[in-house]
């Protein structure tokens, strides 16, 4: 009994040590990034910096002078409507495909499964051409409207609705005389909320981090989003490295905050969605 307990303690200690080591090595680049952003550029490359410097205010000011926070707002202007529309269209689509029987349902479900396998960048060339035809170059529409056609999102909701939506309640609401739209908004959507939250996280992160799309569409400096901002800060404004790194740090903050709030749902979504019964 005593040896059993001792071996449990050893196992526990070894386990925590390994986990912590891995966690530290994942966080180390983050830490270096945060620290580098608070130093003077000339000091950055002179010696190793393992602790925070005192240049944060200056770097911050240089960053805002270079218009970085404009990019920040631009990114939000794209990512928020994008996320909301993705959630709206995908939750409706996924619910309809899973919980209604209608003509063409089989075809649409197969359509979703097949298109799920197409690599996302397959049509990029013609997509840019199409945006030109729509006169959408230098606007944010290309990142908001087409986002609604998110196959992955529909699939995600379809999988989730299978177990989450109680058809008995939906049926009884129908008997009470509620319209389909009202049933969806008031009864079904609350059931789908965990899936919606985790998809919102994925969608927001994807949109926030998107570099290639804005790079091909947005040609005017004042329209740039955060990733292009980071990529071009150095060349356009003669901004120092430490300032650029501070910009990177700040651009990660919204994602981490969002993740902190949604991680529980997100992990649950992965746990429920990735594993086959």
């Amino acid at each position: 009994m005593k040896t059993g307990r001792r071996s449990r303690i050893i196992q526990k200690t070894v386990g925590y040590c390994v986990l912590t080591m891995f966690a530290l090595s994942t966080l180390l680049p983050f830490y270096i990034m945060v620290v580098m952003g608070t130093h003077k550029n000339s000091e950055l490359f002179l010696r190793l910096n393992f602790w925070f410097g005192d240049r944060f205010p200056e770097n911050f000011k240089m960053l805002s002078d270079a218009g970085f926070f404009r990019y920040f707002l631009n990114s939000l202007t794209i990512a928020v409507p994008n996320t909301l529309l993705v959630i709206a269209s995908c939750s409706m689509g996924g619910y309809a495909l899973r919980c209604y029987r209608f003509k063409g349902r089989k075809f649409l479900i197969n359509f979703v499964f097949v298109t799920l396998m197409l690599p996302g960048s397959l049509g990029t060339i013609a997509w840019v051409w199409e945006m030109k035809q729509f006169n959408w170059i230098n606007t944010y529409w290309p990142f908001i409207i087409p986002a609604m056609g998110n196959t992955y999102g529909v699939f995600w909701f379809m999988q989730y609705a299978k177990n989450a939506v109680s058809m008995d309640i939906v049926e009884s609401a129908r008997v009470e005389g509620a319209g389909e739209a009202r049933i969806f908004v008031q009864i079904v959507f609350p059931f789908l909320l965990p899936a919606a939250i985790s998809l919102a996280l994925l969608s927001f992160v994807g949109c926030w981090n998107n570099y290639m799309g804005p790079f091909l569409i947005l040609k005017r400096k004042e329209l740039y989003t955060v990733p292009i901002g980071i990529a071009t800060l150095g060349s356009l404004f003669r901004v120092e490295y430490s300032t650029r790194i501070l910009g990177m740090t700040i651009s990660t903050i919204p994602l981490i905050v969002l993740f902190a709030f949604t991680s529980k749902y997100f992990m649950y979504g992965i746990l429920g969605g990735a594993v086959k019964e």
């Binding site: 490359f45 056609g149 177990n163 058809m167 991680s263």
Partner: protein, 332 residues
Amino acid sequence: MKTTYAEDRAVCKEGRGAADTRRPEKNGRKISGIKLAPYFFCAPFFITYCMFTLFSMVFTLAVSFTEWDGFGKMTFNGFANYLRFFDYSADPRFYQSLLNTFILVICTMPVGIFLALFLCYFLNKKLIGKKHIFRVLYYLPALMTPVAIGLLWSILFDYENGTVNKVLLALGFIKENIYWMGSAWGCRFVLSVLIVWSSFGSTVLFISSALASVSESVVEAATIDGAGPLTTYIKICMPAIRDVMVFIIITGLINSFQMYDAPVLLFSSGPSGGLPYGGTDRGCLTMLMLIMEEAFTNSHYGYASALSYGMFLVIGLFSFVSMKLMTGGEEL
């Protein structure tokens, strides 16, 4: 009102509880509502998908049979674009980028999966608490903007001023700075470290959730039969997470083909000056980087479209092969 768990989570499987619009009913108005609703619900998704994504894919296919600079007239030239990139002597870059992608996959995938399996062996133990916090920490790199990761890596692995060189010098491992990105293999190494770091979290998440679904009783039975914890892990847990492994490998493959942001920034903007597009000797030129260069730098839209479909064929082929190999020909 109290309902049982089973009632509450009534599964809306075929026929059970679902609104069957094919069934004739009397109340006319309500039926039409039920009949039309699913179409309305599906419409936003399908219309936008067909209008933008599907259209652009089909149009790209059409463009791939032409010669086009994006503005002027398209001239039909049949399979000439395809023949050009399939022919190594005409344009070696397709095969080079294919090779680069495979080298990256081979350098990163086994390492990433092995590390994740090693970690999950500890993470999924019952003794360990606070699993959630650890999973969140491991997942953080996956959130970071790839552009920022590329830039950060170019600073860390810089020749003159890089942090990695400085640390190695200070610890006495090296006498002089290593020119990490001075060769194709050096570039691949740096990019591999980047990929492993940024994709590690999601691999851990998938593997650990799959492991959590391995039935306790099977593991207990194995322990009673005298299997050690490591044997149990390899012999019982590994086969159980095969499906997830297939998923991780295929998505990893697809992502490697389509990697763009991080390598572009990694090589274009180090403090000691930029490298060629795709790294030294173009050793890290991925498929998508080649396509983007052909289309938007060289304005060879037709050729770039053909390359896109070449990429699509290769991805399809290798997803299929790896699925068959991993599952031994069985259905998933």
